[in-house]
């Protein structure tokens, strides 16, 4: 049983350690040659990550404690990153809950407000993230997705708390570590401008018009307070957004200067961008992973390769505008949808990305309680998690299967993610529709 578990973990390790292999330093205890310059971390095809991350984690992989595995300190860093991510998710959940309760009370929906307060969605999300087998597998496999997830959660927490420097730092570092969190700038700006998730803004407009129409002289003090509250809830605040952009520019310059210092003797920033972002955008490495792009670009003809690269990377950008227009009143949920889409369509996905969005899914447990196919999705995730190592074993180690066995599980995994994102968006829109219906009935009751 222990051997099977080890085999299972190492099979996932094969998926997760794609971008996290680090070159070992030269091993010359009694070298007769004169000491020469150490090689570039981007020589060969071993490492395609951040030089700052390599500076942080490289010494930890070389240093070893007597009697312990070699990667103990590196594992400890990833464990700490996971724990801090869970704490930040919990804190963000608390802020979301307070904002949601305040919004519902301002609309007069006291019953819904009490129901929302009773459910601890932040704690639930943190527990889902920490106890997720994908999080554990990514940590055991020494994947750097734990640190990337930490930076994404840090930017979301900073935006929920209206802390522009913290949000800017998280967004800059997340974009620097991997390219795909760059699209999170839209929900972060919406969070800083409009605040956390709220019901549709048309309801607040209707309430303001109604209050203006039915004003009475006796309640002038409470009416002024209500008008100010509605005004605050409706207006976009440009001041935090400007602060955020300023701090983003500051952190970006600082990170670029540090990277320039690190890689100036290995080709400079141009070489860095080619080896990191160019490697992501051109999908050079065709080793098997849990996504579908490795097999697609292994089989596609070279003439059509650039066309399909543009199509697949454009699929992420195409859905940014419709989702932003439709879900701009719920920036945190918009960020969650963006994370699911990027984890599905990125060049080198891993189970660490699934751990992040499954943890964030717990934040919206109350709004998404009517989501369809939830049991089917849960069973599908469990099935793919169990079948994917089996198919990998059949193909690579035993040789009784071929690449199509493993590609079938990758296709099933992609379909599961599609169902998850479509049904979650549908459930959230249905929830907003229900709020609109309840508020409309309440207005009619007041009018009559």
């Amino acid at each position: 049983m222990v051997l099977d578990l080890r085999s299972w973990f190492h099979c996932f390790e094969a998926h997760s350690t794609l971008l996290s292999q680090k070159p070992q330093p030269l091993f010359s205890p009694r070298s007769l040659h004169p000491p020469h310059q150490p090689p570039s971390p981007y020589a060969g095809s071993m490492y395609h990550g951040s030089p700052l991350l390599l500076t942080l984690l490289g010494p930890l992989t070389v240093k070893r404690i007597e009697g312990q595995p070699d990667h103990l300190l590196c594992s400890l860093v990833f464990v700490i990153a996971d724990v801090v991510s869970a704490m930040l998710i919990c804190a963000a959940g608390e802020k979301l809950k307070v904002a949601c309760s305040s919004s519902l009370q301002s609309l007069g929906l006291h019953n819904l407000s009490e129901n929302s307060e009773r459910l601890p969605s932040g704690d639930f999300a943190a527990l889902v993230y920490l106890w997720n087998p994908f999080t554990i597998v990514a940590c055991v496999g020494l994947s750097t997705s734990a640190i990337e997830n930490l930076m994404v959660v840090l930017s979301l927490y900073g935006a929920c708390s209206r802390l522009a420097p913290l949000a800017a730092f998280g967004w800059v570092m997340a974009t620097h570590l991997s390219l795909y969190p760059a699209i999170l700038i839209i929900p972060v700006i919406l969070l800083l401008g409009y605040g956390p998730d709220a019901p549709p803004r048309k309801l607040f407009c209707q309430r303001k018009n109604l209050e203006v129409g039915n004003s009475t002289p006796s309640d002038s003090c409470s009416e002024e307070e209500a008008k100010n509250q509605l005004k605050v809830a409706n207006v976009f605040s440009w001041r935090p957004v400007v602060f955020f952009l300023f701090w983003t520019l500051l952190w970006s310059s600082y990170v670029l200067v540090l990277c320039g210092i690190c890689v100036q003797q290995y080709g400079g920033l141009h070489e860095l961008f080619k080896r990191t972002y160019g490697f992501i955008l051109t999908t050079q490495d065709l080793s098997p992973n849990i996504g579908v792009l490795w097999y697609f670009f292994a089989e596609v003809f070279d003439f059509f390769r650039n066309f399909f690269l543009i199509v697949f990377h454009g699929n992420i950008l195409l859905m940014i505008a419709p989702l932003a227009l439709r879900l701009n009143h719920r920036p945190c949920f918009l960020a969650f949808v963006y994370i699911v889409i990027s984890s599905m369509l990125k060049s080198y996905p891993s189970v660490g990305d699934s751990a992040l969005y499954l943890g964030l899914l717990g934040l919206f447990a109350y709004e998404l309680k009517d989501m369809q196919f939830s049991f089917f999705l849960f069973s599908g995730y469990v099935g793919v998690s169990l079948l994917s190592p089996v198919m990998h074993n059949l193909w690579i180690w035993r040789g009784t299967g071929n690449a199509n066995f493993y590609f079938a599980t990758a296709i099933a995994y992609a379909c599961l993610q599609i169902i998850l994102v479509v049904e979650s968006v549908s459930a959230m829109l249905n929830h907003d529709r229900k709020l609109t219906k309840l508020y409309t009935a309440k207005l009619q009751h007041i009018k009559s």
């Binding site: 070992q24 020589a43 690449a403």
Partner: protein, 475 residues
């Protein structure tokens, strides 16, 4: 008229080889023949013929015997072996040989340089010199240009696919194994052809005469013709007038008989053989005749062991269990080259096992040079320098056979290794493309449908409620 006939003959010769090349690629045999020391070998052994084995050099002669007559009718030499054989026997159709056989040709000079008469030795020397004369510019470009010229020249000579070693994905520039030519060395091998190892150096600064180390090997199976004097079990019988008894003959023979013969006959006329007579009628059913023959001196014939045996093989597969192992026997100051062209090689998982026990790398490996490999651009080169015999730690000597002399093997190579790759299914590129595009189309259409449908429904809902204030706000 005679000149045209000569040209026609040469063309037929080339065409014949070219036509047969298609069939001979099905059977490719391993050739081992050391050209550098062929003079010495030629004097030691009178080579009347050679046999190319099917076993690709993996036949265990000392254990499984020396000759298999089943493969003799099918044995055919490869083109490189045929050329080398004719080269050694001086049977190549050079102009010197043509003139010597009274074939009239117009020009007797070498077609490459046009200075001396074309001969076998000068032919190769001139080829090498032509490769070196084209060296110009920087050293790196010089080595590359010389390498290309050499590979093309030799591919023309041997009618083989030696030009495959021209591209940068099949050769490497090791520095630890050949320390006499640092920086200006190219080492390339062909794993599928009759194994030709080409190493070339263009370093002229040391004053020594540089040349091409062209090694081909023919696997020669030897059968001893005569035995040693100590193994001679023939005995000279003494013929006496009076019969002294069989005891004397019993001791003189090279073997021992378990039963005393009744009568011993010595035939002196035809040969010096001895005839032992046992009348069978003297034995009955209960006491049967049982004769045992035992040699007094054991007869042992064995082939001498190689001073170093190296083999390389792949173990397991996949990212976790895959490994490439090099097995070395009689490790004495060895330099091993492992030219690996796989995709992801993790050098931090290098392990060293000495006498079935894992050891730390720092105790044995003196130098290690790692060139990180990049897919389809440059192969990964891993060189290890082991310690010499006097540098081993004392605890390793327990149970470790210490040889009597320290010998360095700088030019020893392990056999070439073909590592099987994980292949995609080449039969379904269209299936993969269509299924993946269908999945993404499903994602795009479903999500856009959910987003768009909600808008229209909400508009109709607000209209049906008939709220004047909301309608006024929208208009």
């Amino acid at each position: 008229m005679c000149f045209a006939m000569i040209i026609t003959r040469i063309i037929i010769w080339v065409t014949s080889i070219t036509r047969q090349a298609y069939y001979r690629t099905i059977r490719l045999y391993q050739c081992h023949l050391h050209l550098i020391s062929y003079t010495k070998r030629y004097s030691l052994y009178t080579m009347n013929g050679y046999l190319l084995s099917f076993t690709q050099g993996r036949w265990n002669y000392e254990r499984w015997g020396g000759f298999d007559s089943n493969i003799e009718p099918q044995c055919k030499a490869s083109r490189a072996a045929t050329f080398t054989w004719r080269l050694l026997k001086d049977r190549l159709p050079t102009k010197g040989n043509l003139l010597r056989r009274n074939i009239i040709i117009q020009d007797a000079d070498c077609p490459l340089c046009g200075q001396v008469q074309e001969e076998v030795q000068k032919y190769h020397i001139k080829t090498m010199e032509l490769s070196f004369n084209k060296v110009d510019g920087t050293m790196i470009d010089g080595v590359g240009a010389s390498w290309k010229n050499l590979s093309h020249s030799l591919s023309g000579l041997f009618c083989a696919s030696i030009n495959f070693v021209e591209s940068s994905t099949t050769y490497s520039a090791p520095e630890l194994a050949f320390q006499s030519a640092l920086g200006s060395l190219r080492y390339g091998t062909l794993p599928r052809e009759a194994r030709l190892h080409l190493t070339m150096s263009t370093d002229h600064s040391d004053g020594s005469r540089s040349g091409i180390n062209l090694e081909q090997t023919v696997t020669v199976v030897l059968q001893p013709n005569d035995q040693k004097a100590g193994m001679n079990h023939k005995s000279t019988a003494k013929f006496a007038v009076n019969d002294t008894g069989p005891e004397d003959f019993r001791r003189n023979a090279g073997f021992e008989l378990s039963v005393t013969p009744k009568r011993v006959h010595a035939e002196m006329e035809t040969s010096s053989s001895i005839l032992y007579e046992y009348p069978i009628k003297e034995y009955t059913e209960t006491e049967q005749f049982d004769l045992g023959l035992t040699w007094k001196h054991p007869i042992v014939w064995y082939s001498p062991h190689a001073p170093l045996y190296a083999s390389r093989f792949s173990m397991g597969s996949g990212n976790e269990r895959g490994a490439i192992a090099i097995s070395l026997k009689l490790i004495q100051g060895l330099v091993a080259i492992n030219n690996v062209k796989e995709r992801c090689i993790y050098y931090h998982t290098l392990q060293l096992v000495v006498d079935e026990r894992p050891q730390a790398l720092t105790d044995f490996v003196e130098r290690m040079r790692v060139s990180p490999s990049e897919d389809k651009v440059s192969p990964g080169v891993m060189e290890m320098g082991f310690l010499h015999i006097d540098e081993y730690p004392p605890d390793v000597n327990q149970g470790f056979g210490i040889p009597s002399a320290i010998i360095s093997f700088p030019d020893f190579h392990a056999e070439l290794l073909l590592v099987p790759l994980t292949t995609p299914d080449f039969g379904m590129p269209y299936n993969v493309i269509t299924i993946t595009c269908t999945v993404f189309a499903l994602y795009f259409e479903s999500l856009l449908n959910v987003l768009w449908r909600g808008v229209g429904e909400e508009e109709r809902l607000l209209k049906n409620k008939g709220i004047a204030v909301a309608w006024q706000y929208y208009s």
